[in-house]
């Protein structure tokens, strides 16, 4: 399927914005760029690699995301964990039915999620959580002595045990 490259998935949501909605989006995106709290919950979920929103002429909102999973589950998860921020993000669009009850929201998601015709990811086998674990392990590994360093086996073993203890949840 062209929307995914192994584990990595692409979504395009393209929706018309209601009159006056553009002003709301400019304010919302300005706030999100400057106040970390607005997007913090997205980061905690750890299933979006990268996403972005674009405001097009003629009141069109274009959203692209690179993430793990399928689009309905993706939107549903955010509806449950950050409902008010989801309402802030989608209510100014034409036809948005609110997230509850979920059936209408699921249908709205399906109706507005457009096919990606061709998609590629540089790390298609790694979920977002996997990338996070790997980056933390790399950070810790860079504090280990270099393999070429003049170090005794006992000194290295001590550093290794500390490394394993520090990263055991990520290994």
């Amino acid at each position: 399927m062209s929307d995914s490259h192994r584990q990595a998935t692409a979504v395009n949501i393209v929706v018309r914005i209601r009159p006056l909605g553009v002003a709301w989006y400019r304010l919302l995106f300005f706030a999100a760029r400057h106040v970390a709290w607005v997007t913090a919950a997205m980061g905690r979920q750890q299933f979006i690699h990268h996403c972005h929103w674009m405001l097009l002429p003629k009141r069109v909102l274009w959203f692209e995301s690179n993430y793990d999973g399928d689009v309905v589950r993706y939107m549903d998860t955010f509806a449950r964990i950050m409902p008010w921020r989801m309402r802030a993000a989608w209510t100014p669009t034409v036809g948005f039915p609110d997230m509850f009850p979920p059936a209408g929201f699921h249908q709205w998601t399906i109706d507005n999620a457009y096919e990606t015709t061709s998609y590629w990811s540089a790390y298609p086998d790694a979920t977002t959580r996997h990338v996070g674990r790997a980056l933390r392990v790399l950070d810790a590994a860079e504090r280990l002595p270099s393999p070429d360093a003049d170090i005794t086996p006992e000194e290295f073993a001590t550093a290794w045990r500390r490394f394993v203890a520090d990263t055991q949840l990520d290994l």
Binding site: A8, N12, V14, V15, R16, A32, R33, T39, M42, G43, Q46, F47, I48, H49, H50, C51, H52, W53, M54, L56, K58, R59, V60, W62, E64, V94, N112, A113, Y114, E115, T116, T117, S118, Y119, W120, S121, A122, Y123, A126, H130, V131, G132, R133, A134, L135, V137, L138, A141, P147, D148, I151, T152, P153, F156, A157, W160, V164, T167, D170, L171
Partner: protein
């Protein structure tokens, strides 16, 4: 933080299906996005407002069929785009010749940059360049396996195994 480069072009009347065939034939593994350094993800999305060949290309808020070429990149957009066009070669012509304005332009990179749509908001869970992400995944794989193999090993064996694993 990586940058989003999104290029939106209008598809010429009657060209949608031919463009769809061209884009669908682009290889994924080993394809053009994979050959441009500093690329996290890349996509082509052909979005139509006409009766569509697939159920999921249907009317939206756009005036006509549009082609979105979008990538998450670590380098400057103009540099990345120059490299991408070089990699695409004649395929660039096959793709954007179906789009409005391409036939009348000499500066291909300039044409595409003129059609760039800037992001109003970007988000990344992990703020790391693609080279570091790939290195991290490789180191994670090696050290996870080493940690399992070296449980209970004496210090000299551990250091030798670590040197062998990470010295590669």
């Amino acid at each position: 933080m990586p940058t989003q480069l999104s290029i939106l072009t209008a598809v010429l009347d009657g060209h949608r299906d031919a463009l769809h065939d061209v884009v669908r034939a682009i290889p994924v593994d080993g394809g053009p996005f994979s050959q441009v350094p500093g690329t996290h993800h890349g996509r082509f999305a052909l979005i139509s407002t006409e009766p569509s060949p697939t159920a999921r290309m249907r009317a939206g808020g756009l005036d006509g069929p549009m082609l979105m070429c979008s990538a998450t990149i670590d380098t400057a957009p103009s540099v990345w785009l120059g490299h991408f066009l070089q990699v695409l070669g004649p395929l660039a012509e096959d793709i954007w010749s179906h789009c409005n304005g391409w036939a009348f332009t000499v500066d291909r990179a300039g044409f595409l940059l003129e059609h760039r749509v800037h992001s109003a908001l970007e988000f990344a869970t992990w703020d790391a360049p693609v080279d570091r992400v790939q290195r991290a995944l490789d180191v994670h794989r090696r050290l996870s396996a080493l940690a399992v193999r070296m449980q209970g090993a004496d210090p000299a064996t551990l250091l030798a195994a670590y040197r062998e694993e990470m010295g590669r």
